[in-house]
């Protein structure tokens, strides 16, 4: 695989990884029984999910723009 391919894959994996981790773990509330623990486990986890979406798709722009060698 070329350097372009490796870096693009890495960007996509980081983005999808952030989406999966934030969706499955960080946004999950600690409990559903009281208001106090009903917030996501990690503050702004939803924002991290969106960031993951943005990073994942920016891989496409990188793949096109990158000028490095093989």
């Amino acid at each position: 695989m070329t350097t372009r391919g490796w870096i693009t894959t890495a960007i996509a994996v980081v983005g999808v990884g952030l989406m999966v981790v934030s969706y499955l773990f960080w946004t999950t509330p600690a409990c559903n029984t009281t208001v106090a623990c009903s917030n996501p486990r990690v503050p702004f986890a939803a924002g991290i999910f969106v960031l993951g979406v943005l990073i994942a798709f920016s891989a496409g722009a990188f793949y096109s723009v990158y000028k490095g060698g093989k």
Binding site: R4, S22, Y23, T27, T28, P29, N39, P40, P43, F44, A46, G47, F49, V50, V53, L54, A56, F57, S58, G60, A61, Y63, S64, V65, K67
Partner: protein, 430 residues
């Protein structure tokens, strides 16, 4: 003659950078409508939603979601077309649609921005809502999915797609001295038109298309789930909401793309590029989606009239023969008329641009009406608790904001056309 030829040679293609009297008049009119919309919005921001026709459900006797949410759903639906058509071109290599690909991508980006603004217009404290969504939002909620998938993911993916597919033209235009040369150089980002770069771009756009298509279905389904998962609201809860949203999104989106393509063809004098064949392809796609949607509508009518619960019966009466009947039957007539027109053209194989545009207008009238009917009647008439029947009439503030959004969209597309080729350049146009 020599001077004229040299001047012509320096001119950018498709009227880029040249402001005609007609364009300036169009721009001024759109700015005026947008300013009125902004004035109305600031009235609402300062005084609260009380200045609109929106009121509380139940005891308030009104609807909390009205014109803004109906148009939010409509704008998000319109976004379906552009990126779908662009993706279909890349995946299935439909060359006849190549000239409308970029305007489709642009339509997607613009309509997603308008959709986001429409939903923000519905909020009394938009900034507070945005911060809370990112801090406390839970992706399990369709509301979060709507914002993250539709607004953030879908919009960003579409922007990336538009950028990757535009670099080559930016690089070509950067070679020519013009007032936008710096911008073109920046957008080209060192693009060199080599076979290797073309191969890279083909691969990038192909995989982006592959990634965007499922995102598109998820995004439009999620908007449907906002309504379809609400078990306590007759008329909304149902498994057909998500697929219905996806299909009607395609119908309104393709209809809009046909209208935009006709306007661009006329304005940029690209009759030889945007051929009748391109309109025929779009019209066939529109017909297929329209027939599926009419089937969904027939199933919906049959279901709500066959043996509905008491609450559903009140709602179906309001839709079919009560307060909302004129909107409902108006939508059905528009959609059926478009289907008949397109079917006739398909059977006779005599496609015309006028017929495609007429169908595009008709389906969009039907789509706006259907979006309104999805949002409003279930709030005013779909009560499980013993509240009186409500009513909702949008007032001038809401209409001004919605017209302002349309004008803003027209400004964005109009400015884009004066800065960048909305129809991809041919080799000869270098």
């Amino acid at each position: 003659m020599t001077t004229e030829t040299m001047t012509t040679k320096r001119e950018l293609p498709q009227g880029i950078g040249r402001l005609s009297t007609g364009w300036i008049a169009f721009f001024a009119a759109m700015v005026a409508v947008t300013v009125v919309g902004l004035y109305a919005y600031f009235q609402q921001l300062g005084n609260g939603l009380i200045v609109t026709g929106l009121r509380d459900l139940g005891t308030g006797g009104g609807a909390t979601w009205g014109l803004y949410v109906a148009y939010y759903v409509y704008f998000i639906g319109v976004s379906f077309a552009g990126i779908t058509v662009a993706a279909l071109i890349r995946i299935f290599k439909i060359e006849k649609l190549e000239p409308v690909a970029r305007m489709g991508e642009l339509l997607t980006v613009v309509s997603l921005i308008l959709g986001a603004l429409a939903i923000l217009a519905d909020l009394e404290h938009p900034w507070r809502a945005i911060v809370n969504l990112f801090e406390f939002g839970r992706p399990q909620s369709p509301f979060f999915g709507t914002f993250s998938m539709v607004i953030a993911g879908y919009l960003f993916a579409s922007l990336v797609y538009l950028y990757v597919t535009s670099r080559r033209d930016a690089a070509r235009l950067a070679l020519q001295p013009s007032r936008f040369q710096g911008l073109y150089r920046f957008l080209a980002a060192g693009y060199e038109d080599t076979p290797e770069q073309r191969r890279i771009d083909r691969r990038a756009t192909f995989w982006l298309a592959i990634a965007i298509l499922p995102l598109l279905v998820i995004a439009h389904s999620t908007v449907g789930f906002v309504f379809g998962l609400q078990v306590g609201r007759p008329g909304w809860f149902g498994s057909l909401q998500a697929p219905g949203f996806v299909v009607l999104a395609g119908v309104s989106g393709i209809g809009n793309l046909i209208m935009l393509a006709a306007i661009v063809r006329w304005a940029t004098k690209t009759e030889k590029r945007i051929t009748v064949d391109a309109f025929a392809w779009l019209a066939k796609l529109l017909l297929g989606l329209l027939l599926v949607y009419l089937y969904f509508t027939a199933v919906e009518i049959l279901t709500i009239t066959y043996q509905a619960s008491a609450a559903e019966q009140v709602l179906s009466d309001a839709l079919l023969k009560g307060t909302y009947a004129w909107i409902f039957w108006g939508a059905i007539v528009s959609l059926v008329a478009a289907a008949v027109l397109l079917t006739w053209k398909a059977l006779t194989r005599r496609w015309t641009i006028a017929a495609a545009v007429a169908a595009g207008i008709l389906v969009n009238i039907g789509a706006v009406a259907k979006r309104y009917l999805i949002v409003v009647p279930s709030q005013t008439h779909g009560q499980l608790l013993p509240y009186p029947i409500g009513s909702y009439t949008p007032n001038w503030v809401e209409f001004a904001v919605v017209f302002g959004l349309f004008s803003l969209g027209a400004i964005m597309i109009g400015v884009f056309m004066k800065v960048f080729p909305i129809v991809p350049l041919e080799e000869a146009e270098q």
